[in-house]
């Protein structure tokens, strides 16, 4: 079954899909094709859990139910800094949406505001 993923690192997000049977290593190869870093230089995370190359995405908890096209699952990515170390996993949050204008806020008192908006 297809699983849909956002691979995220710092300010980069890669939207891609794969199969539940795709391994973590194959996913790193896809990242390699895009960001030009070899799989040995990559670490992939689900939440804060480091994912092993030999596991499949299904094994790691990415299923057709948790990773849908309109709500893809997030995979963290960290690159190797030097022979010894990898960078810390860090993902920039998206911008916060603006405050809702009053007319769009849920109304407790009924539909008077909605009627005005329709006119």
């Amino acid at each position: 079954m297809d699983v849909f993923l956002m691979i995220r690192r710092h300010k980069t997000t890669i939207f891609t899909d794969a199969k539940e049977s795709t391994t973590v290593y194959e996913l790193k190869r896809i990242v390699e094709g895009i960001l030009k870093r070899s799989p040995e230089d990559q670490r992939l995370y689900k939440d804060d859990q480091l994912l092993e190359d030999s596991k499949t995405l299904g094994d790691c908890g990415f299923t057709n139910q948790t990773a849908r096209p309109q709500a893809p699952a997030t995979v963290g990515l960290a690159f190797r800094v030097n022979d010894e170390m990898f960078e810390q996993l860090h993902v920039e949050a998206f911008s916060s949406p603006p405050e809702l204008p009053d007319v769009m806020k849920p109304q407790d008192s009924g539909s008077t505001a909605n009627e005005q908006a329709v006119q």
Binding site: F15, I34, P69, Q70, A71, S95, L100, M104
Partner: protein, 110 residues
């Protein structure tokens, strides 16, 4: 090791294009998904050498990352369910981004 898994061949992201939001978040999506947007399609395949055509990168100065990420999810959602006979699930949109999403959709023609 088989080479069957290799995707991007020529060019930096030739199977993928990079969409950059107003706050410098980079979203990489498959080229065929991005072509769901009429505007992006025109930018990438129009006549002449537009800069975007060369680097496969498009910067959207008015679209923030919250909205652009939703747009990318929509591309995948649409590609998945077009020509599919299975029941199509709803596409969830939170109210806060609705206004900006409509503006972006209008601009992107999708």
């Amino acid at each position: 090791m088989s080479d069957g898994e290799e995707r991007a061949c020529e060019g930096p992201d030739s199977m993928y294009v990079k969409l950059i939001s107003s706050d410098d978040h980079e979203f990489i999506v498959k080229r065929e998904h991005a072509l769901v947007s009429g505007t992006i399609k025109a930018m990438l395949s129009g006549p002449g050498q537009i800069a975007e055509n060369e680097t496969n990168e498009i910067k959207f100065r008015e679209i923030p990352s919250q909205v652009l990420s939703k747009v990318c999810e929509y591309f995948t959602y649409k590609a998945q369910h077009t020509n599919s006979s299975t029941e199509v699930p709803d596409f969830p949109v939170s109210p806060e981004i609705t206004l900006e999403l409509i503006i972006a959709a209008n601009f992107l023609d999708c």
